[in-house]
């Protein structure tokens, strides 16, 4: 089969969907709505109308979010069914990211109950319990009374190996952050392997996309954890995603063993992404007088919003390029997930009664 026959149908289908999905006026109207009920009512007549139905029936935002997750999983499966086997398998790797996040949520719930001794009652119902990529007994995870029991719930999945390098004591003392980072890194390793299995143009496209994606995420990590939380070089190494130009260059230059690893990495960022570097510097300059934690967080939000825009423009470029490659599929998922993310942020903002400005700042609108 040629690339054209592989991608002609899905390319046309996804482009048509992309054409109708960007409804920025919808988000604007939702932000302006004075209450959650009025905000979510704006979804009537849009392709998210199913979420409104769930809200009308339950009044429960978390139930709506669970529905969104189910819709996302269904979307990956639907698109995967239109693709030939190799790119379809790659899509399973991408779907695994949703599973990783679901696993993290599930473990957080278990942690809340078993380690922090908080009552979780109905909250377990908002965990997606179906099989996403691997067969995981989520009930066993939530109800695990010991760490070995938790490990058993993940047997025959790649998560077992990651979890086995932790213990109840380490988690109890250091929290879930290291475990979650380890799970993310496991996924990035799978992503790297998945990209290697792709052929020709698909492989090149995926490499380009995820290399930049990993770089931008690492820049965000640097901003968030090093600049604000002053991580040590060892912890910095553990936090950084093992993919992309920045990490490879940092390893080559021995950045993490240098006297000032942040300066060396910042130099790499400046060389590879001069505009990103300039923009971050500009945001910091204008936020020089920021002193409180809230204000520092605001600066991170601004940088996150800028990097989000940057990532969006990368995907827009892909959409304008070769239509007969996996690029259009990846761009579509990016746009879908971004739209869902914006929707979630607006609805959460409305639920917590945030101001219009605060919601807009949070989603970079």
């Amino acid at each position: 089969m040629s690339r054209v026959s592989d991608y002609a149908f899905i390319n046309a289908k996804l482009r048509a969907r992309i054409g109708i999905m960007r409804e920025s006026s919808l988000f604007d109207e939702m932000i302006k709505a004075p209450s959650l009920t009025e905000a979510i009512a704006k979804l009537d007549g849009t392709h998210h109308a199913g979420l409104l139905e769930v809200y009308r029936k339950t009044g429960d935002l978390q139930q709506v979010e669970l529905q969104m997750l189910e819709d996302e999983i269904a979307l990956y499966r639907e698109v995967g069914s239109y693709l030939p086997s190799v790119p379809s398998e790659f899509l399973s790797v991408l779907l695994e990211k949703i599973e990783v996040d679901n696993v993290k949520n599930c473990i957080r719930l278990w942690y809340s109950d078993a380690v922090r001794h908080h009552l979780i009652s109905y909250r377990s119902s908002y965990i997606y319990k179906g099989s996403i990529v691997h067969r995981i007994d989520y009930d066993a995870v939530i109800n695990a009374v010991s760490y070995p029991e938790l490990l058993r719930a993940f047997r025959d999945t790649p998560y077992a190996e990651v979890l086995s390098s932790f213990s109840l004591e380490s988690i109890a003392s250091r929290g879930l952050f290291p475990l979650e980072i380890a799970l993310d890194h496991m996924w990035f390793r799978h992503l790297d392997e998945g990209i290697r299995k792709l052929h020709g143009r698909d492989r090149k496209t995926a490499e380009e996309i995820y290399s930049v994606d990993a770089d931008l995420k690492n820049i965000l990590m640097l901003t968030r954890y090093s600049y604000s939380y002053h991580l040590s070089p060892e912890d910095l190494e553990k936090v950084m995603i093992p993919m992309g130009y920045i990490v490879k260059e940092a390893q080559k230059m021995g950045a993490l063993s240098s006297d000032d690893p942040i300066a060396v990495i910042s130099g790499i960022v400046k060389h590879r992404y001069p505009r990103v570097s300039e923009e971050i510097a500009r945001i910091r300059r204008t936020a020089d007088d920021l002193t409180t934690v809230d204000e520092n967080n605001r600066e991170i939000v601004l940088i996150e919003a800028y990097l989000g825009e940057r990532r969006q423009s990368e995907y827009r470029k892909i959409l304008m390029g070769d239509p007969f490659s996996i690029g259009v599929v990846l761009a579509y998922f990016f746009l879908c997930l971004q739209e869902d993310g914006t929707l979630r942020a607006i609805l959460s903002g409305k639920y917590y009664g945030w101001s219009e400005d605060k919601i807009r700042e949070g989603i970079g609108l």
């Binding site: 209450s35 009920t37 109950d113």
Partner: protein, 660 residues
């Protein structure tokens, strides 16, 4: 109905500032004027005018209107019609009051949703217990049967309820069914009340089933309560329906007034405005403004031909019955002002094409029925969103059905059977190769008909183009353009030439003394087009170098000749798809007919024929519809429809919100 787009006139009026509101409301009530900004006055005069300043910004009014609409939609309410009386007797705009009313309603809705959320959480908690029991995951459950030794049972019950689970305290011994992960919390509570497990083995045995039964009953009652609350939310909105309708009407009228007044300019005591009005309403509008202002006004009319054609808004004056076809035309573009209204020609061409491709009396009747029933259902439920068979499709099917039925009568086809005598020829018999008497005997004859039909359509397009060009006084294009007279003559030559070749049995080309001189004259006209255009431009002061003129003449000549020959040839042959689709329709029905005979069972035969007809109606109906549209857009419209117009959008009380 006029054959051309509706004639327009531009009104410019000056009224006293004190009469402004009355004039605006009167014009909105009439709803026939599209306002334009006054921007072409000399700068010194413009400087004396000031722009409209609003008490309430239009954006705030729009936000308020959208908010009311959202709530009304949530309550399943229709937007009210604004009557002239309602617009005249509006209470003052009280934005703060409106906001308070809406906030109050929104708050009460939110409290219903919050109650729904609590109940949903309860359902979720109980569902987890029920699911574990159903899936035999009893390890995750903690069942206790016993009695407290001391303390108040109600207190114990209340404290256990905080943890969550199923508690049966109305019988003895008490039953507690919780999640195992909450065991330690349950034990802590029970220990405080000296809970002792029952030794009654029967009670212990039946406790689980009893507790699950109670959980199911509780879940069911919660679900009912959830449903009631969902209805209550919609009912709460409807009970405020009058207030919402009043707010919407008030805000909408003010929004429209703001919109209209944003086009006004002002001196200290007067208001100046301008806009386009269909010619037949111009006297009414003059009279209306004069009446409302008691004659304190100055009205001037500008004719459309005094303004560049592209600035005049266009309205097609088609009869209501042809609205579905006007929609097809609008989908393509808006015709230029003063040109031919394509709607009636599109309707005729589209229906003929569809009838030729989908000729079946029975299937056409089904299409008509679908159209009629669909339209009736949509009329009955005006708020119902469009489904796959949309409102528009239903209105189109009401035309396509009878067209297909007429085709069926001509070709003697009903549900794929030759049940009725053909008025023209038996299409199915010709397709199946059966011996047929008359002019049409084989498939080539059918192809010939559609090519002739294509020639008629293309010529109709060319003639309409010539009429448009004469009306626009573009005589140069009329003569020299590929869709002008030169193109028409060369197309006629081509048809004559091809006709002669086919008539000779594809053996010899026809010859005639007029052929070469006419062809050479046409080619010469195409050659001189470039230099002539250069001379005309030079007269207007746009000189071009001789080299440039020669180069562009050669290139234009080659492209133009190629376009005339290959373009018109391919346009004509494109109409063979009409025969193709018609033949496919007949062949498919014939195939289903043969398949129906295979089982030798009358029930199976009927079922196969029903299924076959359904498939053909859906698939072939869709194909014929799309191909007819394609032929109209690419073969017909490209000959005469420039689509350079700007649609006329008058503002009135009944204007859709999106229109402004």
């Amino acid at each position: 109905m006029s054959m051309f787009t509706r004639k327009m006139r531009m009104l410019t009026a000056v009224v006293m500032e004190s009469d402004r509101d009355s004039v605006v409301k009167a014009l909105l009530e009439k709803g026939v004027m599209e306002f334009v900004h006054i921007g072409l006055l000399p700068a010194d005069k413009m400087a004396k005018l000031s722009e409209h300043s609003s008490a309430v910004p239009k954006a705030a009014l729009t936000d308020m209107r959208v908010r009311v609409e959202t709530l009304m939609k949530e309550g399943g309410m229709k937007l009210p019609e604004i009557s002239a009386e309602a617009a005249d007797s509006l209470p003052p705009l009280d934005m703060e009051g409106f906001r308070r009313t809406l906030d109050k309603l929104s708050l009460s809705l939110q409290s219903i949703r919050d109650r729904q959320r609590s109940i949903n959480q309860e359902i979720n908690a109980l569902s987890e217990i029920i699911r574990y029991s159903t899936e035999k995951k009893d390890d995750y459950l903690d069942l206790r049967v016993g009695m407290p030794a001391h303390g108040n049972a109600d207190d114990l019950h209340a404290r256990l309820e905080q943890i969550g689970g199923v508690f049966l305290f109305s019988r003895k011994p008490y039953i507690s069914l919780t999640l195992r992960r909450d065991s330690s919390r349950v034990t802590d509570v029970m220990d405080k009340f000296g809970w002792t497990e029952s030794t009654d083995s029967e009670a212990q045995k039946s406790a689980g089933a009893e507790a699950i039964g109670e959980a199911k009953a509780l879940t069911e009652s919660c679900r009912n309560e959830l449903g009631k609350l969902a209805d209550e939310a919609a009912e709460r909105i409807r009970s405020n329906g009058k207030a919402l309708s009043d707010i919407w009407t008030n805000v909408r009228v003010h929004e429209l007034c703001e919109h209209v007044e944003s086009y006004f300019s002002y001196t200290r005591n007067t208001s100046l405005f301008s806009g386009w009005v269909p010619e037949e309403y111009s006297d009414d509008i003059s009279a209306l403004i004069t009446k409302v202002t008691d004659g304190r006004c100055i009205i001037e009319w500008t004719e459309a031909d005094e303004v560049p054609r592209g600035e005049v808004p266009v309205e097609m004056s088609s009869p209501k019955v042809l609205r579905p076809f006007e929609h097809l035309v609008r989908n393509y573009s808006t015709p230029e002002y003063g040109s031919i209204n394509p709607t009636p020609f599109t309707a005729a061409a589209y229906l003929c094409m569809f009838a030729l491709m989908f000729a079946d009396l029975g299937q056409g009747f089904i299409l008509l029925l679908v159209g009629l029933i669909g339209s009736w259902l949509y009329r009955k439920n005006p708020t119902k969103p469009d489904g796959i068979i949309s409102r528009y499709l239903c209105s189109l099917l009401i035309f396509l059905g009878p067209a297909s039925m007429a085709g069926g009568l001509l070709f003697g086809s009903c549900f794929g059977f030759s049940l009725i005598p053909a008025l023209w020829f038996n299409y199915d018999a010709v397709v199946e190769g059966e011996p047929v008497q008359g002019l049409i005997q084989d498939i080539y004859d059918i192809l010939g008909i559609t090519i002739k039909f294509g020639i008629v359509i293309i010529y109709l397009g060319l003639v309409l183009n010539w009429i448009n060009l004469v009306r626009k006084k573009r005589y140069f294009e009329l003569v020299f353009d590929k869709n002008g007279l030169v193109g028409g003559v060369m197309y006629a030559l081509g048809i004559w030439f091809a006709w002669g070749f086919v008539a000779s049995g594809y053996r010899t080309f026809p010859s005639s003394p007029f052929f070469a001189p006419v062809l050479i004259s046409c080619l010469a006209l195409i050659v001189i087009k470039g230099p002539l255009e250069a001379v005309l431009k030079a007269r207007e002061g746009h000189k071009e170098s001789v080299g440039h003129v020669i180069m562009s003449t050669v290139m234009d000549f080659l492209v133009e000749v190629l376009e005339i020959f290959s373009g018109l040839l391919s346009n004509t042959l494109s109409f063979m798809r009409v025969a193709g689709l018609g033949i496919a329709h007949a062949s498919l029905m014939s195939a289903f007919y043969q398949m129906a005979d295979m089982p030798g069972n009358i029930i199976a035969k009927v079922l196969i024929m029903i299924l076959g007809n359904l498939l053909v109606i859906v698939l072939e109906g869709l194909s014929a519809g799309i191909q007819s549209l394609r032929l109209n857009y690419y073969e017909f419209f490209t000959k005469y429809f420039t689509g350079h117009g700007v649609a006329f959008e008058p503002v009135g009380l009944r204007s859709r919100a999106s229109a402004d």
